[in-house]
């Protein structure tokens, strides 16, 4: 279910990118796309055992103390950590550009800026 939702989010993000004309909304759509992508990547690593038991969060603790236990796949989680931070980098840069654009044109709406 979460996997479908993730793909739906990615598509909603793309739809927003294609239809929105407001710069803030475009960055927002980009963020929605990234959230969807992150959820999707995590869902790739989720494990349900043969008896219906749920995989354990990939941390060895004094209770979950052996690597022979059923852990969920840790690699997608590591990838998402990287992807989240990269996403913040681009979002922040996009917002800084948005501020510059506003300073130049006095609006966030692409249609009101006129052709360059």
């Amino acid at each position: 279910m979460l996997q479908y939702a993730a793909i739906f989010l990615i598509m909603l993000g793309l739809y927003g990118l294609l239809t929105q004309r407001n710069i803030i909304k475009i960055i927002l759509s980009l963020n929605i796309l990234e959230i969807g992508l992150n959820v999707f990547i995590i869902s790739i690593g989720f494990v349900i055992g043969t008896n219906g038991e749920i995989g354990i969060a990939p941390i060895l603790t004094s209770t979950n103390n052996s690597s022979a236990l059923l852990f969920v796949d840790p690699l997608p989680q590591a990838l998402v950590l990287t992807a989240i931070v990269i996403g913040v980098g681009t979002t922040a840069l996009g917002l800084a550009l948005a501020k510059n654009i506003y300073a130049k044109y006095g609006t966030f709406n692409i249609d009101e800026m006129g052709e360059e």
Partner: protein, 465 residues
Amino acid sequence: MSAIYLIAVPLLAAFISILVKKVSPYLLLLVSAASVVAMYFVDLETIVIGGFTAPYGISLVVDRFSQAGLFAVNVLFFLVVALNINNYKKMSSILLVALAGLNGLLLTGDLFNLFVFLEVSGIAAYLITTTNKKPLATFNYLVAGTVGSSLYLLGLILLYAMFGTLNMADMSQSIADSGVSAAVVSLPFLLMFIGFGVEAKLLPFNSWVKGILGHSNSLSGPMIASVYATAMGLVFGRLLSEVFVFDDKVTLIIAVVVVLSVVAGEAMAYASTKVREILLFSSIAQAALVVLLFVNGFVGWAIMLAIANGVTKFLLFSVINKATEVVGSDEISSLKGLFVNNKIIGVSFTAASLSIIGLPLFVGFIIKMKMLESLFTSTLVLPFGNYFYPAVILLSSIVEGVYFIKLLVSLWYDKENAPVVHYDVLLKYVGVVIALGLIVYGVFQGNVVDFADSLGAIILQGGVF
């Protein structure tokens, strides 16, 4: 020498450079010059990082492919930096990161690491284009680039879900071993293709190019059109030839997209009256041609075309953007007679454009001839038959020839009110060297042919070295 220095040293310099702002331009020059020199000492090997071998850790691959790319990219990067550093001192730290990112992009043998370096070099590229003072165009570039890399990431994660590895060599091995049909992996590869298509300027995804290159300056123009285009083209080619597996339907879609890109690029270049736009549409067509060659397996010539294109576009964009900065417009009419006062620059510009068209005596001719020859004699099954691609290439060459000759004529002739543009001595030298190089390699074609053939052979055999 380990190629890791090519990534780590620029990065180190970038981190240091924010403290010593005054010295950072010199640091940038020093590091990029050192990278060019270091190219000669890089061994052909697979470099393990972190002490964990291939499928588990990240590895860098130095083979003939990445070596050729590194060579072209580092030399061009150094030239662009050396020509512009005085006017863009503020960008030094960002350019250092860009260098590290580009080298990492060319070297890495890991699909996710490629995504990381795509973002590193991408963000550096967005920042380089902010010097155009067109924030909206930069914003469009940022959005397009981010969507592209997100789609790439989506494709990559689908592959991971199916085959459980992220290493390129391991991935293509497991795809081959698992014996799945090409249809099974066509979705992830299609997504990755679209993702890279944004960077490689393929047709539906290249709306950002016009805003960026149409308003570029003497730093961002050559940097994006030549350095980045070469790096992206080669990395894309590496994926296309070493990892991607396409089934027939997808190959057909890609063929249509690529051919349309070539045709549309040439047509728009033909219709345009602004010099920068002519150049940028022509580079869209060239980039599509490179992808076309890679998709159909003519790896050696694709690499040669990408590199030749990078070198010539560097010269053309440097010359035109400098003139535009002085004159204030890039309409052909206002740049008329540009070369009357700058004969040396004019001659090298002419040589570069003639090489792009593919006239005899220039490298471009050999590349085009060999391209056509291998397409005609190819035993591979090409979409639309063996004569379709050569026809497209020939047709586009004719269009290219027409608009470039028109451009050259107006840039050379008009003795009255010719604009006065003073070019750097360095650019003149570089221009002459490039022009001579194009002619020397064009006349004594043995070297080029051998090199490309051996590259193609090595890579098609699947060997790393």
